[in-house]
Symmetry: C2
Subunit: 151 residues, 2 copies
DNA sequence: GGAATTGTCTTAGCGGCTAAGATGTTCGGC
DNA sequence: GCCGAACATCTTAGCCGCTAAGACAATTCC
């Protein structure tokens, strides 16, 4: 690395580490407030962020859980009303997990607050600076994804 | 929020969300490679990031675990060589958890790779841009911490 | 049509977590 | 100094989620 002083890197490393720890804490707390375990919330997040509905098996792959565990996860999520099991009409062995958006209205305040925090942070920057930050976040997510995959 | 278009906020929200999911995955994988559960690794991280050595009770508070669970966590961390139990000489009821840095040499490659990723990302920005990013990270961590505390 | 494959669910067994109580240490009033 | 209350950690019982292995149902390939 060229003109970067070691202390700069050290500071950035510290931010990363701190941010990671906070993320995990936040994740735990959100799950708690939704009446879910961290595992269940993680699987629900996968289902929400996916393009279409996921199958049970795909959730097992993505989450790293066994298929048996995923059965339990979906049971609990379904009982709590967050998702619905739908048999895939094209392959009736498969179980599609459909997220029921209505159920999230209850927790709107959680996400609103999180978004308000984001807005508050971003409001300290002008348009040009926001572009730098966005470029950074884009790169960071992309690079981080590669890093996670081969860890 | 003033001059910010909705799509910009939407994109930033997406980065946050994606970054969170990746962080949790990374955390899980690092723990796995170190032969620890996510819980154990989380507690170890607390002990590492703390100023001085933490007591068992303080780890329970910070992690949100019961004291009984923390006993088990420290047992496993101690057996694996990551920490050492030291009776506090000033108050012999307390157990200080001392991190043994030597044990982390084995996993140096994990952190080196993570740091290399960070350097790779940062190398795409000039000095002025890095300052913007650092200001952003600082604010983000600070604001996020407040958000986590009252969630 | 029958065998092999695929996707999910079921079950047994293990291990970590909580809650409650046991043990050992310190502090405060006398 | 002594005794009881408060405190820090450990121990135990019971519960619950996870893994692994196998059961069951639907599909695919010959």
């Amino acid at each position: 690395m060229f003109g970067m002083e070691p202390e700069v890197l050290e500071r950035f490393t510290w931010y990363m580490r701190e941010h990671s720890a906070l993320t995990i804490m936040f994740h735990t707390k959100v799950a708690e407030q939704m009446g879910l375990s961290a595992t269940d919330e993680k699987c629900l997040d996968l289902a929400i962020r996916a393009e279409g509905p996921l199958t049970a098996g795909r959730i097992a792959e993505l989450s790293g859980l066994s298929t048996g565990a995923v059965t339990g996860v979906i049971d609990r999520l379904e009982r709590a009303g967050y998702v619905r099991r739908v048999r895939d009409p094209h392959d009736r062995r498969k179980v599609l997990v459909e997220v029921t958006p209505a159920e999230f209205v209850k927790f709107g305040h959680l996400f609103e607050k999180a978004q308000a925090s984001l807005v508050e942070v971003l409001s300290h920057f002008d348009e040009a600076e926001l572009q730098v930050i966005e470029r950074y976040l884009q790169l960071q997510v992309e690079t981080f994804r590669k890093r996670v995959i081969d860890t």
